[in-house]
Symmetry: C2
Subunit: 377 residues, 2 copies
Amino acid sequence: MKNAQNSNLIAALGTSKRVHNFGAGPAVLPLPVLLKAQEELLDYQGSGMSIMEMSHRSREFADLMAEIDANLRNLLAVPSEYKILLQQGGASMQFAMVPMNLRLPGESADYIVNGAWGKAAIKDAAKLGSTRTVATTEDTNFDRLPSLASADLDPKAAYLHFTSNETIHGLEFFAEPKPPNGVPLVCDMSSNILSRPIAVAKYSLIYAGAQKNAGPAGVTIVILQEDLLDRVPDDLPVMLNYKTQAAAGSMHNTPPCFAIYILGLVLRWLIDLGGLAEIGRLNERKSGLIYRAIDQSGGFYRGHAQPDSRSRMNVPFRLTTEALEKQFLDEAKGENLVGLKGHRSVGGLRASLYNALPHESVQALVDFMKEFQRRNG
Amino acid sequence: MKNAQNSNLIAALGTSKRVHNFGAGPAVLPLPVLLKAQEELLDYQGSGMSIMEMSHRSREFADLMAEIDANLRNLLAVPSEYKILLQQGGASMQFAMVPMNLRLPGESADYIVNGAWGKAAIKDAAKLGSTRTVATTEDTNFDRLPSLASADLDPKAAYLHFTSNETIHGLEFFAEPKPPNGVPLVCDMSSNILSRPIAVAKYSLIYAGAQKNAGPAGVTIVILQEDLLDRVPDDLPVMLNYKTQAAAGSMHNTPPCFAIYILGLVLRWLIDLGGLAEIGRLNERKSGLIYRAIDQSGGFYRGHAQPDSRSRMNVPFRLTTEALEKQFLDEAKGENLVGLKGHRSVGGLRASLYNALPHESVQALVDFMKEFQRRNG
């Protein structure tokens, strides 16, 4: 009774003003997740304390970690021979941990570089050892996915790395690159994990900062084939060692408890909503709406990505002049449409359409785009 | 008006049940901090979004980072030639980053080991290069601080490392070790930072996981002399490189925004309370209360640490039998006194008395201790 009463009270407070948040990350979270977090912020499950104040060795927190593991396995259909880790440091820390853990002395690693994040990943890996760029479209400012048909893949590579979605350039892979036999496929899935079903078995290691589709900044999901742990060097520092982290259930030291808790709430929300098939359908519908608006604008709006490489998560687009782009941003803000400024390396505008962004927000943006074109086209 | 109304409503919800939380970390947070976080969880400063949903490149978040830097400098009297970083991975990540950044090839580092955390720090550093334990009391299960008078300190050491407070064994340094001329003093201050004034100028580098006195788990404070950055090797991965992190204002990638936000609220609370001199006085009073209860129990309660080495933050103590200890824990829980189980390496009980633990909680524990002794002594 008390809880129901609290929920109603807090819901009345919480929904007072919410904007349409198209930010590229940290990004919009599901409203029910925020309401639940608000409701139990001072008293987690009757414990008399916040989840932030609770021992990570407590029964409550152990239950939460187990639930998250089970829900990630369920949602992504993770095979049993994979371990799921929750790490700190974001995808950028994985840029270093992947080569430190998986590339043995003398080995080289292959990278497909289809945007800014792929570039950052190979840059760190190159500091620590040998790398090769096997496919890239940097020469056209990453306006399309690279062709993999002619890529010269190393059959002895420590792994083949790619970025499944590039937030800045708005490119997304819908089929996995196929590495040579025995070469592990490694993927930075930060910006499209949990946005649709994937075949985890095709990957040896997937990593993803949570702050796009999975939760707040501060926690990173790593899903890896357990037998990869056999090659982890023993002399790595504990916090950088997948084997230590796996053995300790991601709790060698105190994990980022609150970020993990929000991740847990997001996973529950996704399951309630119908899982990845359903969210995939919704995401396709949302991105379809905005790409149609671009394509039907007669060139008033121009997408950065070529149609066959388009991301469902991030839609970078330009107007005909920078002055018009600035006007668009300003007026959009007046309609509570925020987070639409493009990254400086592409310019213009960018709409990020992660899982938690409601369809109504995309509809509001598309309506505004049409109205703005009518007035300024 | 709306905000004041919200505050009242939420305060009525939030304070419904709170326990006395003696947990060793994650630990109790100030109630006003939690109430504020709850109030603005869905709408940070009128932005129409949660701080968790906001770009770390936004004006609001930049202002928050600047405020935290200023408030840490103010509270700790940090000299201007020091940089303050906010990192991920906890103190355990610093166990690796310190030697990676500060110990050049061929150099060795000296460690004072006065408990479990000092042991963990040197263990990771030893994986990566040369170390020496220059003082320890491991032979008496860390029941006292080691004597430094006879320590054989390396005048050419890359640095001298110590742990200012050991949470498990309950030992705290109240005077800094003095390294040989020119040897940087490095300190893991995770469990007593911000608990009283310190002389930052005596240190070259201080690091501290936030989850004791400063905030929730997921953010780590690093305070370092700027000229130390000159010795950072260029080939370190970006996330492990103090120079990169300092140059990027701790935002090379997305920082753990929510944990940082709570840290910011804790710092404001500390300033409102009167700063470190005042909190130091309160902490001395709280720990005095419980140590007196132990000392006046005629041996019914026995502290682990020798009196001249006692921590003001963590008070591990034993009863005469394990059965009695279990009974104590069970009955204490019935009185809403929680988080009192000692670490397995010391056994018995432990009361952690961090900044946010109210005096009333310590008084409630001491009253219970006396009553328990009366019934069972």
